[in-house]
Point group: C2
Chain length 148, copies 2
């Protein structure tokens, strides 16, 4: 029991509900995103697909991203150096990011207190909370020792 649908199945249903089409291009992009265990930006995703001889246009990637976000399969995690970075979230526990401001290294972490904070904000300000994003920046052990 507790069979979990794959991201492809989820997305296929999502598209069907919107009267949209499931195409090979969309499928290969999603596969590539979910095969990557890292955060990604459009350009590096595009390059990594080209290196594997998977031909899709950047426009198709750009057009797909808002759909994947709406379907709750990916999330924008941070904006850095003029571009947005995303990560796939389907099938993963929600987590936050501790990022080294010097080398870019990212440490993921989760903290149960954030749920409490969300709940209290909902009560206090009568908001319906959708999500939270906690980004902590600092210097990782290596960069700290190099005192950059």
């Amino acid at each position: 029991m507790n069979e979990m649908k794959s991201e492809l199945e989820i997305f296929r249903e999502f598209l069907k509900n919107k009267g949209m089409r499931y195409t090979p291009e969309r499928e290969t992009i999603i596969k590539e995103i979910f095969d990557t265990h890292d955060h990604f930006d459009v350009d590096s995703l595009y390059i990594s697909m080209r290196q594997k001889d998977i031909r899709v246009s950047k426009a198709s990637i750009y057009r797909l991203i808002p759909l994947l976000i709406e379907a709750n399969l990916i999330e924008a995690v941070f904006f850095e150096g003029g571009q947005m970075y995303y990560e796939h979230i389907y099938g993963h526990e929600h987590h936050c990011h501790l990022r080294c401001i010097n080398c870019g290294r990212i440490q993921e972490f989760a903290d149960p207190r954030l749920r409490d904070i969300e709940q209290e904000l909902a009560d206090r300000f009568s908001y319906q909370i959708i999500r939270h994003k906690l980004e902590v920046t600092g210097l990782c052990p290596e960069c700290r020792n190099r005192q950059d």
Copy 2:
């Protein structure tokens, strides 16, 4: 006692230490930023200055922002609709943002548990923490009732 330096004094010293110059343009931009009690983006700051007949080029604003961030006078708070929003932080308690995804309304809040979380992350991962940014998104009371 406990005389607090003004943002202008702080910045003047910051520039001096870097062998840079304190100009009337820089001064008027900082004044405008600190007179505004809201978050701002470059374009609206520029427009609001022009309306008061203060003439500075956008380029000067863009060139000033990284300096103000380095001097810890302002901070980038979120990226939305293709542009970055900032707020002045000097002289204010650190706080986080609860943002309505529908109308853009922002509720500020602070939570002491975030300091604890920072401290624990520092211990656990040996990072030297610089700052945190918690962004909570949801629907404000009004937008929630309109069920957008």
